[in-house]
Amino acid sequence: MSKYLDLSIIDINKKLKAKEIKPIDLINEVFERIGFNNLNAFITLNKEEAIKQALALENKEVDNLLFGIPIAIKDNIVTKNLKTTCASHMLDNFIPVYDATVVKKIKEKNMIIIGKTNMDEFAMGSTGETSYYKPAVNPWNNKKVPGGSSSGSAAAVCSRIVPLALGSDTGGSIRQPASFCGLVGLKPTYGRVSRYGLIAFASSLDQIGPMTRNVYENAALLNIISGEDDNDLTSSSNKVPDFTSYMHQDIKDLKVAIPNYYMSDQIDKDVRDNVTKIASMLTKQGVTIDYIDIDYLEYAIPLYQVIALGEASSNLARFDGIRYGHVTDSFTNTEELYQKSRAEGFGREVKRRIMIGSYILSGENADTYYDKALKVREALTNSFKQVFTKYDLIIGPTNTNVAYDLGIKSDDALKSFYDDLLTIPVNMAGLPAMSLPIGFNNEHLPIGLHIVGNYYDEGAIYKLASYIEKELDLSLNPGGDDLC
């Protein structure tokens, strides 16, 4: 069996250019690997189209690094004529009539979409278990969750089915699974990547980002998906640099902050120790490391509950059984059509969040909680800005813990959010942040380092991440040799 998919993209690109291999060889390998795995990483495969596209590429010049490279797309990003379900019964049969902007960009580079990945239903969850299509599992240990909501994207990249995948991150949905699976996952600055075609969970927090095996490939994919989009008013006109150019730049003068909040005893000790090790490694390189406090950080979770769920309750109102989506079998009036279609189409977690969000916005609550939350959000954002006047980066653990067992998450409306304790504040402020693998615990489960940058300064994140990655030189392929 060929092992081209274990190679780095740079090596694959060389072989494609030298015509040692063809795109179809990569695609065949992808589907072979999917067959061997029981990860439940995909909801829909795009096999026929992918093969057709790969064959068509044989006559084209290999004109860019990502030419012919297979990619997996989280199933909340719309793909024209390819079923997009959000892992929900609500969208079982939904065939979009347009491509998301990121999908368009990927197609323009002649990358090959091999399928739509499993996820928590409507990206609501942090284990992948709220999927209507059964949860994906963690390739490092099939009894563990891969993390969520971008569970399938993480599992697919981790198990080397595809070198690249797109995820989306509202409160940690790229970084947390990246950390649980030992991947590089980046949530870009809010506005860096167009949200057009991303089925909204919480509009002011959602951001699409790359999930990859290594830092360089992450930067290469971010290069392609970034940039201002006329279809998204919240996309930024900020210039997009070549993110790969930050690789291996000198880190000596970097100033890095570690928030005390991120190192409290709420965080698993193994995780903290690994972060501390990195800190001392960096100090030796001449990096300034200070432990600091960030005001309002402790309010991030209640803020998230108000803002994310308020927005979600409104964003998911469009699923009413009229223009698309699940329609209940029998109804006599529109009220019944609505109530039954929605009750049947949405899963438990989604309904719970819609209920909470509707409640938070109802009556006087909107004034009492929502407006205040938006002001506290501004205050939190300002205190992050304050930190970035003195520091280049903030680091800490991505998560409070490593991947846990499937099925243990209780049905507790509040506790589920506390998983994202460390990732949520970043979405609140709209900052860019990465999870980078920095080691394993004693069960050999990956641990992630959280690197948070200033607005539009993903470059600094890549700079530091590429240094740490090179120094640690971890073996991150759960199936064997790491060649990429």
Binding site: F94, P96, Y196, I199, A200, L233, A317, S358, Y370
Partner: protein, 472 residues
Amino acid sequence: MLVPTIGIEIHVELKSKKKVFSPSINNFNDDANTNVDVIDMGYPGSLPLLNKEVVNMALQAALAFNCQINQLMHFDRKNYFYPDLPKGYQITQKDTPIGFDGYVEIEVDGLKKKIGIERIHIEEDTCKSIHSNDKTYLNFNRAGVPLIEIVSKPEITNEKEAVAYIEAIREILLYLGISDVKIEEGSMRCDANVSLKEEDSSVFGTKVEVKNIGSISNVALSISYEIERQKALLMSNETIYEQTRRFDDKTRQTILMRTKETGNDYRYFPEPDIPYVNISEDHISSVKNNLPVLPNEYRIEYQALGLNNNYIKTLIGNIELNSYYRKFISKINPIICANIITGELLSYLNKNKLTIKDIVLSDEELIKLVNMIEEGTLSSKQLKEVLPILLETDDLLEDILEKQGIKQISNETQLNGIISKIVNANPSSIKDYKEGKDRAIKYLMGQIMKETKGQANPKLANDILVAILKEQ
């Protein structure tokens, strides 16, 4: 004594080229569901855009209504479920309407009054629903059509003021050229909030909303009906409940649609898909400086020119006719010109279902007509005959007068002969004249016109007659 308090909400469709939050063409009269984008359908993953033309139109309206401008404005979501509302929310402006605290001037029975405008905001229209016996059909062409909502302060006290207010709003929007403002076609929709309170009380009564009133005359009818209905209830010590009613054309009554439950729970919150919009001081002043001349300015000008109220009302109420009139205003007698345009010309247009744009009448010919009437060389009777021919043919005025045998006898010698003969044949009139009786001249002029089949130049004939009578 019970006095009414009336507030009026007006929704106006703007005639921008594209919809407010999508790139679809703004024309819902095209074939059903052909001007539809994923945005208009509230398709998963779609995001709103913001149309600059719409914001500018709304800004024009806000400035024309003397409003303050929210220079840092945002949009809000109004959440409710309805089949005609694709996203499950309407994008509108709750916290930061583009304009607030303005006014319009109205005149009722010769008295001027300012009616305050609470707010003007931008929002999107819903789908058009067509109902059959058991089904409702949705047309998404109208989803996302730009609207502005203009909310008056509760400063209107009777139906006459209400009508004057709506007409004033309508006229201004018409002159801004940002809407068709046709109530009958739905591009302008009026709701009235009516309540009664004791005259000296500062506490408002319970308000009743009358929705979707289909014409300006129905506004007056529904308000006066509602005032009487509420009066009767209060007089018999009954309670008025907050409710929504509609006006029924046939029975000429307002009819209960729904009582408001505990108030609607629209769960408003700021629209996160559209960032803050900055409207700079510079932009505001440039829009302000480029506002077209508004009806009130015309009104003041026309009053100064001496035009009567009927002329003014007709001209201002018909924007095309008014701009036609403006071409001549400084060239010829403005009163006679207004008389012809709002009189003979307009009735010709109305009779033939035409607008001023449909007719070919060279400026020179109209100028000649006005001048001839002013000189007295053309009578109003002759005008009636000549005008249709002038409008329907390419002939010049002189040729028409010639062909129709409508020519004036302006030859002094000829007229002298005719008039002398008539004076001599009417000795009693000479006597009347000498005794200072006015009717003599009138009678004799009548005889002259009869003799000349109305072709005598009236001014010249009059001069000659007076001269002859004086010689007697």
